[in-house]
């Protein structure tokens, strides 16, 4: 079955079983490898991405639900390499990743979090992001989300001026 949607701003059509998890369509049909497989059961969050601005765990999202929608993956989070999304900039500033495998999922969750909670406390971050990291980057993730929120605020102030 043909399913059309936009991914990172680009229109695509895939011919696939509509129940195929968006994760595998994104990774193996569209060759965007930043979205990771971790558990296949929506438990770890490594496959997190956005569809129309909402956060999804794509291993549990059949591709049919993306039809005619806008999908954003880690590759499309920043406008370009020189103008990083506040989350990616903060992740750079705090030197967050270790193995790096879970980080795209965390960053996608973080990007949604700072949209919804512009000035998050540690507790807000702890309560609202439940992804799994094994390397133990948790303390840096919390710092980076707060930093990202600040960067976003200051960008907003700049653009308002």
């Amino acid at each position: 079955m043909n399913i059309s949607f936009k991914i990172n701003g680009k229109a695509v059509t895939v011919d696939t079983d509509p129940m195929t998890p968006l994760l595998w369509v994104v990774r193996d049909e569209l060759s965007l490898k930043g979205t990771k497989y971790g558990c296949g059961k929506a438990l770890c969050g490594a496959c997190s991405l956005h569809v129309d601005g909402e956060l999804y765990r794509s291993c549990s999202l059949p591709v049919k639900y993306a039809e005619n929608k806008n999908v954003t993956t880690i590759e499309g989070l920043s406008e370009n390499e020189n103008e990083l999304h506040p989350v990616q900039q903060a992740w750079m500033d705090i030197n967050v990743p270790q193995c790096g495998y879970c980080q795209p999922g965390f960053m996608m969750a973080a990007a949604k979090l700072i949209e919804e909670i512009p000035e998050p406390t540690d507790q807000d971050i702890k309560e609202n992001i439940s992804n799994i990291c094994r390397c133990g980057t948790h303390p840096r993730i919390i710092k980076a989300v707060k930093k990202a929120a600040q960067l976003k605020q200051s960008q907003k102030v700049q653009s308002d001026e």
């Binding site: 998890p21 909402e54 956060l55 291993c59 549990s60 969750a109 979090l113 919804e116 609202n128 439940s130």
Partner: protein, 206 residues
């Protein structure tokens, strides 16, 4: 009084009682209702007995897990708090970042085995039942102030036809369906309604 006969009578009575009221346990302590067992039951009694069956369904983990009285749903037959710190949120569909739909969709997912049904969400707080007594659940269920303005007829229609309610009997691989069969449930709903939609009340209220 002959002690032996007395014992026998008591035992028989208990057996009868057990036959009528035994349902698979949901882990709740069962309340015993003071309903006389006579041949010619009146309508109220019929209705109340039917409601017991309905209660069994309401208290089944497949149903009550997402009817928390607080803000956190439960999971599994052991009814542990839902993983990932899942919370009710402003619209009963999850927190501001991780919503029910982050993982759950309109149908059970045979790949991820994440359960799903249309409008997958928590029942509103006013419809929270977890940890309440049967009487409290019954009161909340039937009180239009709390149940979204539903009459008993509306309730019966909702419980017979709502896709999220029906999911309880088709919860996907690895999950125990509601232990009362859907036929039995439907029958109980009809009996309950036809006989006056009576609900159990606390003794003190009588």
């Amino acid at each position: 009084m002959n002690t032996k006969t007395g014992n026998t009578i008591v035992i028989c009575f208990l057996m009868l009682f057990a036959l009528v009221f035994s349902r698979p346990s949901t882990g709740y302590s069962k309340r015993v209702y003071d309903i006389p067992l006579v041949k010619n039951e009146d309508k109220k009694e019929k209705s109340l007995r039917a409601f017991q069956t309905i209660l069994e369904v309401l208290k089944d983990p497949r149903c009550i897990n997402c009817h928390p009285t607080g803000d956190r749903p439960r999971q599994g037959d052991d009814q542990h708090l839902h993983l990932f710190n899942v919370s009710r949120g402003e619209s009963n569909n999850g927190g501001p970042v991780q919503k029910c739909n982050t993982c759950h969709h309109k149908e059970n997912n045979n790949y991820s085995n994440v359960p799903g049904a249309p409008h997958w969400s928590l029942a509103p707080k006013s419809m929270g039942w977890f940890g309440l007594t049967d009487e409290e659940i019954a009161k909340r269920l039937t009180d239009p102030e709390q149940n979204g303005g539903r009459s008993p007829e509306d309730l019966v229609h909702h419980m017979k036809h709502d896709s999220l309610v029906l999911w309880g009997w088709d919860p996907g691989k690895g999950r125990t369906p509601v232990k009362v069969s859907f036929n039995e449930f439907e029958k109980a709903l009809d009996e309950w309604l036809e006989n006056g939609a009576h609900i159990p009340t606390e003794k003190a209220d009588n």
